[in-house]
Amino acid sequence: MPNSRPMSPHLGIYRWRVNMLQSTLHRLTGLFLCLGALLVVWGLIAAATSDAAWSTFAAFCGSWIGLVLLFLWTWSLLFHLCNGIQHLVRDAGRNYGPATRDRTHDPVYWSTGWAITAISVVLTVLVWVLLLVHVSGGAA
């Protein structure tokens, strides 16, 4: 049965702000990280099974698709982590309320969203640079 109840005015009427990006990305990265949880379990079961099973898992992680996915998972984790910490802070009531949400009273409230996105990208690059240094150092 189609829902005939009136809809609230949805996304279209709101002025775009960075918290919309944060909210959407938090959900998308969360969804994507749930797939990553399956990879974690695959790795653990492979380690518990045999050398060959672990090699299959390691080969997947080392393949192009695997590396791209791992890179995206790293960023997803770090964004979800950074944004989640802000989520916890605001859940606790800090810097939350009409006055602090007003751009003229507290411009910092909105800019933290951009900072979080930037920090998550920088941390992702940092993690992968460290990883590459570690791998090349181990091989030499």
Binding site: R27, L44, A48, A58, H134
Partner: protein, 137 residues
């Protein structure tokens, strides 16, 4: 004319309230989502470092690393919190976007089975390596 939403005539509003489920337990999933999030902050940072060290390592080193008690315990805690937190998140996503009743119910049940199986498999695998696997090397 009714004093309460859902009230018809002389019917007691408590009858309607009962149909909406128990009170006082509504924030439990919300709270657990936050508790597991707090646990996952240090655990996921530690896990990133563990993965970085282990992904290119040979098999005996992998087993040795997982079998270290601190790593094994943290891995178990990480897997449990990860699947719990993920299941709570997916539950909200299903509630928000799936409006066909039978499909929503099916997905919610499948999600609980899947999350439980995933967490169980992860924990069992860590225990297997910790308690038996590492002794071969």
């Amino acid at each position: 004319m009714s004093a309460y939403p859902g009230q018809e005539g002389l019917r007691d509003p408590l009858k309607v309230a009962h149909g909406l489920g128990a009170s006082r337990s509504g924030v439990r999933p919300w709270w657990l989502q936050r508790v597991t999030a707090v646990a996952l902050v240090p655990l996921s940072i530690w896990f990133l470092f563990l993965m970085g060290g282990v992904l290119q390592a040979d098999y005996p080193t992998v087993l040795e690393t997982i079998a270290q008690p601190v790593h094994a315990i943290f891995l178990i805690a990480f897997v449990v919190c990860l699947f719990w937190h993920g299941a709570l998140g997916l539950q909200v996503i299903i509630e928000d976007y799936v409006h066909t009743r039978w499909l929503e119910t099916t997905l919610q049940i499948a999600l609980r089975f899947g999350a439980l199986l995933g967490a169980l498999a992860g924990v069992m695998a860590v225990l297997a390596v910790w308690l038996t696997g590492a002794s071969y090397y």
